[in-house]
Amino acid sequence: MSAAPAVALPDARWRPAEVAFWLAAVAAIFLFPGHLVLGSQVLITGLFAVSLDLILGYAGIVSLGHAAMFGAGAYTAGLLAKHGWGEPVSGLVAAAAVGAVIAWATSFIAVRGGDLTRLMVTLGIGLLLYEAANRAAWVTGGVDGLSDMAVRDLLGVFPFDLTGRTAYVYSLAVLFAVFLVCRRIVRSPFGLSLRGIRDGARRMPAIGSPLRRRLITVYTVAGAIAGVAGALLAQTTQFVGLEVLGFSRSADLLIMLVLGGAGWLYGGLIGAALFMVAQSQLSSVNPVYWQFWLGLLLVFMVFAARGGVVGAAAGLRERFLRRVAR
C-alpha cells in the first residue's frame, strides 16, 4: 500500500558490513603500525561515544556532562596505578564501578524534568566534578595532571610500550567486548523500550512501562562504560589531565556522535574516527580554523539534515543494520 520500507524486528545476526568494520579495525594493526597511538585514542573515544549513544541515541537524554563519568573512571584507574595497584584489567573494573555509581547517583535528577533541566543537570554535574578535581589537587594533581603511574603489563605478559601496539590491541579488545554487550542490549526488549522512551515517553507509562527505572538503568550502564573508556585512556597514555572532566570533552563527544549518527551504535565509532582524524590533521595546522569550521559544520548539519541530525541518521541505520522484511 504505502511506499514506506518494511523493516524487520531487531535480531542479533551479523551483517557483512559489520564484520568488515571489525576486520578493518584489526587490520589497522598491520596496515598503520606507525599510527597505533592515534588508533587507540580513536577506539577509546569511540567507546566513550557508544556509551553516550545509549543514553542519547536510544533513550533520548541530551547530556552535556558525560565526561563526568569518563573523567571519574580515568582518575580511578590513574590513582590506582599511581598508588600501587597497576594491574590494568582490574583497574577497568574499578573504573566501571565508579562510573556506574556516579551515574546512578546523578540519574535521579538527570532523568527528571524536561530537556532543559536535564541539560543543565548534566552540565552542572560535569562542572562540579571538574571543579572538585581542580580543588583536590593534592589527590588529582590539579592542573598539572596525574602522572607517575605504574601500569603493569597487560595480563602479566604484554608491556605498554611506545609503539602503542599493546595499547591498541588492549583498547580494541575492550571496545569489542563492551560493544558486543551493547549490541545485545539495543536489540533486546530493553533496547526496544529505550527507543519507546525516546519516541513516545507519554505512551510508555500507558503500556505499563516503568519509565524512570529504565532511564536510571541505562544511565547507570552508560556511566559504567564511560568509566571504562576513561580508564583505558589513563592506562594507555599513563597520564590523566583535568580536561578529561571538562566541558570540551563532553561537547566534542556530542558532536562526534551526531556526526556519525546517533541511534545505531556504529555512529559513535565512525563519528569518533572521523572527528579525531580530522582534528589531528587540521587542529595542529590552525586550531582556530578547526574550531570555526567545526562550528560551521554543526550549523550546516542542523539546517541541511531533514528531520534534524538524528532523523537523517535513521535512514542510514535502517539500510545498514536491518534486513528488509520479506
Binding site: L64, G113, G124, Q291, L294, G295, G308
Partner: protein, 288 residues
C-alpha cells in the same frame, strides 16, 4: 570577618546585576520561544568587543559606547533571528543545542582570529574609578554605577512588560503562543523584537562586564553555565525570577570565593544541583 560582609554582599549584588542583564534575554528566549540558545554568551561577548573597538579605534568615550554596544548587538541579534533562529523554533532540543553550540564555536574562533586570545583591557573614565563611602561602607564607584544602571533598566523592563501593549503581547505569548496567535497577536514579531532586545541587553552587559569579569574569546563558554543556571533556577520567561536567581547566584558566588576560597566555584555548581532538586520548575514555580 563579618565586618566585610556588607562590602562582600554589595559586590555580590553588583555581580548579580551584571548577570541579570546578560541573562534576561536568554530567559525570555527560553520562556517565549522555548529555544535552548547556548550561544547567548556570544552576544554578550560581541557587546564587549564592540565597546573595546569603539573606544580604542574610534576614541569614543566609555559611556557613549554603552548604548552603541547595545545597538550593535541588538542589530546582530535581529539579523540572526530572522535568518537562522526563526527556522529552528520547532526543532528538537538536540538540534537547538547543536546549532547554538556551532554558533558559539564560530564566534569564539572568530573572536580569536580577529582580536587574539588575550584579555582585552578597558579604560574606564576617571569618575567611575575608586571608592565612595556609603553608610559607613566603602563601595566601588563602578560597581555602584552597575547596580544603579541595572536597577533603572530593570524598572524600565518591568514598565515595558506590565504597562505597555507590547508587554502584554509578550506575556500572552509566553503563556500560550498558539492561543496568542489565534487572538491576532503577531507572534513572529513578538519573538523577533524580544530576541533583539534580549541580545542588545546581553551586549550591554558584556560591555559593562569587561572591567568586572574580563573579556577574551572564551567568554561565551566560560560564563554560559552561569547564564543557564540563572535561567533554569529563576524560571524561564520570568523577570522577577531571573532577577532573584541572578542576585542569589551573585551573592553566593562572591561570598563563596571570599569566605571559602578553597572551595570557590564549587559552591555555585553545588547550589545549582540542590536548587534544581528542590525546585525542578525553577524558583518561580515554587517547590515541588
Amino acid at each position: 570577618m563579618f565586618s566585610s560582609l556588607p562590602g562582600v554582599l554589595f559586590d555580590g549584588v553588583a555581580y548579580g546585576s551584571l548577570l541579570f542583564l546578560m541573562s534576561i534575554g536568554l530567559s525570555v528566549t527560553m520562556g517565549l520561544m522555548r529555544f535552548i540558545n547556548l550561544a547567548h554568551g556570544a552576544f554578550a561577548m560581541l557587546g564587549g568587543y564592540v565597546c573595546v573597538v569603539g573606544m580604542a579605534r574610534l576614541g569614543v568615550p566609555f559611556l557613549l559606547m554603552l548604548p552603541l554596544a547595545f545597538l550593535a548587538t541588538a542589530a546582530a541579534g535581529a539579523v540572526l533571528e530572522r535568518v537562522l533562529y526563526r527556522r529552528l523554533y520547532r526543532r528538537s532540543a538536540l538540534d537547538q543545542v547543536l546549532f547554538s553550540l556551532g554558533l558559539t564555536l564560530m564566534s569564539v574562533a572568530g573572536a580569536t582570529y580577529v582580536w587574539g586570545s588575550g584579555q582585552q583591557p578597558v579604560h574606564l573614565p576617571g569618575f567611575l574609578l575608586g571608592q565612595v563611602r556609603v553608610l559607613g561602607v566603602d563601595l566601588g564607584v563602578y560597581r555602584l554605577f552597575l547596580v544603579v544602571l541595572v536597577g533603572v533598566i530593570t524598572a524600565a523592563l518591568v514598565v515595558l512588560v506590565r504597562r505597555t501593549r507590547f508587554g502584554a503581547r509578550v506575556r500572552a505569548s509566553v503563556d500560550d503562543a498558539q492561543a496568542s496567535a489565534g487572538l491576532g497577536i503577531n507572534v513572529t514579531r513578538v519573538f523577533s523584537v524580544t530576541f533583539t532586545l534580549g541580545s542588545g541587553l546581553a551586549g550591554l552587559g558584556g560591555a559593562l562586564a569587561i572591567d568586572v569579569l574580563g573579556l577574551d574569546p572564551t567568554f561565551p563558554l566560560k560564563y554560559l553555565v552561569y547564564f543557564l543556571l540563572v535561567v533554569v533556577v529563576g524560571g524561564a520567561g520570568s523577570i522577577a525570577g531571573t532577577l532573584a536567581a541572578s542576585l542569589l547566584l551573585g551573592v553566593f558566588d562572591v561570598s563563596g570565593k571570599y569566605y571559602v576560597p578553597a572551595v570557590g566555584a564549587f559552591v555555585i555548581y553545588g547550589l545549582m544541583v540542590v536548587l534544581l532538586l528542590l525546585f525542578p520548575g525553577g524558583l518561580r514555580r515554587g517547590a515541588r
